[in-house]
């Protein structure tokens, strides 16, 4: 470990050399900046990872069953496990996806599950990201560079190699591919995660495209070369959100989507990774029901716990939320990226009153959670001193032939000592996640 700390400047130089950046818009201007990297890894012991692996696999399998059910027979609603208003009022529920079965019946191929560890060492799921979860490329390239900069850290510790992420991703793409090439569809250079899109394209051998060179003809997708020759596309790992994917089906003013791609998908002629419509399953309101889904679809108890959550939609929960407002964190289900998160204790009396009025008028829009006392991880501050900071873990679960948990993850931390918000867009950094092999 000392070796990693001593060599942190070298490793940061290597990260800069290889352009490990993310984009951010500030005052309407696009800027690329290095993703702050901390050399002290999060270490997950072998047994602990086995436990996480079991819980994450179970959770993602249940979420895939849920998506197949919701866009199919809807048994879980008919059986009264989830109220139908939670499904059909969810922003992520897409009516055009109803009745559409994706290739190999897989909806969430790449799931980013955010967890935190509390001070009592329990792991809690904070949220599920089943649309376009990003971040795997950062620990992947960071590991590669750390092994060059501080080889002793890896020869002295039994750390599972995480550089196989691209291989796992390629296997998933190949598994659902309907015949043709794999492409990664990016909104383009000025997207926050463009580094990741281009890096994963390089490492998986998929073609990186912004969609301008893809056409849909006779319900098939084709990639067109400079001479007008066509090559069929069998799988699209799309890094653009549902609403922009196809102007003919979704947001009609989208200029970054591919017209008619949804029709090709609906007819089973191309795999979309992840499937459109997954937002219904990672809605913060639906999160509350995931343990119930696990029981319903898999007849198992959830291995990994949710943070204790209340739905103001239920009268009993609303009463609890109002009585305990100051000790809860309230989340807007429509927001992401650390936005729309309010700590009850942080509001002035006036703001609290306003917020409660909003909560009462739109109870379905919010969830409330007990604040988890995070287990802090040490980071090096600017002076090189080790200081504790809040951190989460985004685990990546890949569903193809089987469901597999990548033996690593993106550990994000807050650089602000008083903040729980770890998102890169709000100044957070990242560190490597070691999973020990024994």
């Amino acid at each position: 470990m000392d070796d990693l700390i001593k060599k942190s400047e070298t490793i940061n130089k290597l990260l800069a050399r290889y352009g490990v950046k993310f984009g951010i818009y500030k005052n309407g201007e696009f800027k690329e900046q290095l993703f702050p990297f901390d050399p002290i890894p999060r270490i997950i012991k072998h047994d602990e990872f086995t436990y996480l692996e079991k819980g994450l696999t179970q959770r993602v399998d249940a979420l895939n069953c849920f998506l197949a059910d919701i866009y199919g027979p809807k048994h879980i609603v008919k059986d009264g496990i989830i109220p139908e208003e939670f499904i059909f009022s969810a922003k992520g529920f897409l009516a055009p996806c109803d009745g559409v079965t994706p290739p190999k019946n897989i909806y969430s191929h790449i799931s980013g599950i955010d967890l935190v560890q509390s001070k009592d060492n329990n792991w809690y799921i904070l949220e599920d990201n089943l649309r376009v979860p990003s971040g795997a490329s950062y620990p992947m390239i960071a590991r590669d560079l750390q092994r060059r900069g501080a080889p002793e850290a890896f020869s002295d510790n039994s750390v599972l190699d995480n550089r196989n992420y691209a291989d796992l991703l390629k296997e998933v793409m190949d598994h659902v591919n309907t015949g043709g090439i794999n492409v990664i569809l990016s909104p383009g250079r000025y997207n926050a995660a463009f580094f990741e899109h281009s890096y994963l394209a390089e490492k998986t051998g998929a073609v990186l495209t912004t969609g301008k060179d893809i056409v849909c003809e006779n319900d098939n997708l084709y990639y067109i070369d400079y001479n007008g020759r066509k090559q069929r596309v069998g799988a699209v790992y799309r890094r653009i959100s549902d609403e922009y994917l196809d102007p003919m089906t979704f947001y009609e003013e989208s200029v970054i989507g591919i017209p008619h791609i949804f029709e090709a998908y609906r007819k089973g002629n191309v795999a979309l990774i992840n499937a459109p419509g997954n937002g219904v399953a990672d809605d913060k309101g639906i999160y509350y029901f995931v343990p119930k889904m696990i029981r319903y679809y898999l007849s198992q108890d959830a291995v990994l716990m949710n943070a204790l959550t209340y739905l103001p939609y239920y009268e009993k929960d609303m009463r609890y939320v109002l009585d305990n407002f100051d000790k809860l964190v309230i989340k807007d289900v429509a927001e992401a990226g650390g936005y729309g998160v309010v700590f009850g204790s942080s509001l002035t009396a006036e703001k609290k009153e306003e917020f409660i009025a909003l909560l009462k008028s739109q109870p379905r829009r919010f969830i409330a959670q007990e604040v988890i006392d995070f287990y802090d991880l040490d980071i090096l501050d600017e002076s090189g001193k080790s200081v504790p900071r809040k951190a989460d873990l985004r685990a990546f679960v890949l569903s193809g032939d089987t469901t597999r948990v990548w033996p690593s993850g993106l550990t994000r931390f807050s650089r602000n000592p008083d903040s729980f918000i770890v998102n890169s867009s709000q100044g957070g950094g990242f560190k490597d996640t070691w999973v020990l092999s024994q």
Binding site: A16, R17, Y18, G19, I141, I181, I184, G188, R189, F194, S198, Y199, A201, E202, A206, V207, L208, T209, T210, K212, D213, Y223, I224, D225, Y226, R229, Q231
Partner: protein, 222 residues
């Protein structure tokens, strides 16, 4: 890789052009800076005229400070390097992270040189990294067509600049010959009659640089 779209051809071609623009103009800047020490303090205006950029500098000192480093000047060396980066970053899947890194390193070199107490000397590192980039293009990009499109961009840019900068005939001819080889191997569509005309002109030792430059503008077809 096997399949290259019009957009990607364009990015590869301009990656080659901007990278060579940095290389060739930087070498000429170094020569100009040397001449300005004790031969001709206003020689920078000759460079501006030859390269076809507005003389916005006003003094040799200002030119020395701004031409390599000023990101707000679209004709500066750093601006050309940023354009090379813009074209490289969208082609990472074709050229590779290792190759791209040399463009990033060259940008870092310019920024370091700007703060250095010997900026002109430190700019030589930019040339080192551009040459390493070309080495990487040769060594690490397996697809011959991709290599040739980038090198075609490099060849056309260099030829254009050599013609503008009045380089000796033998250098122009040599550069033209190399560019022509990349043009054919790139498999891009081009106007054969232009090549035929330039070939004929090159047989004449007194050929007109400006005419060749004009012909080159229409060589590659959309």
């Amino acid at each position: 890789m096997g399949i290259i779209t019009i957009d990607k051809c364009d990015h590869l071609f301009w990656l080659g052009r901007y990278t060579d623009r940095v290389h060739t103009t930087l070498k000429y800047y170094l020569k100009t800076a040397d001449l300005m020490i004790d031969s001709d303090p206003d020689y920078y205006s000759v460079l501006c005229k030859k390269v076809g950029i507005p003389d916005i500098y006003g003094s040799s000192e200002n030119f020395k400070k701004k031409y390599p480093f000023d990101e707000t000047d679209p004709n500066s060396i750093i601006s050309s390097l940023n354009r090379a980066y813009d074209n490289a970053i969208v082609m990472r899947d074709y050229i590779g992270t290792e190759t791209m890194a040399y463009i990033q390193l060259a940008i870092d070199d310019v920024k370091t040189a700007e703060k250095s107490n010997a900026p002109i000397a430190d700019l030589i590192l930019v040339i080192d990294h551009i040459l390493a980039f070309w080495g990487c293009v040769n060594d690490m990009i397996d697809d011959e067509q991709i290599r040739n499109i980038i090198k075609l961009g490099k060849g056309i840019e260099r030829l254009d600049l050599y013609l503008s900068l009045d380089n000796p005939v033998y250098e122009v001819k040599r550069t033209y010959k190399r560019m022509k080889g990349f043009l054919i191997k790139s498999k891009l569509r081009y106007d054969e009659s232009i090549i035929y005309t330039i070939d004929s002109m090159m047989k004449d030792s007194e050929f007109n640089y400006s005419n060749v430059k004009n012909l080159l503008r229409n060589l590659i077809q959309e």
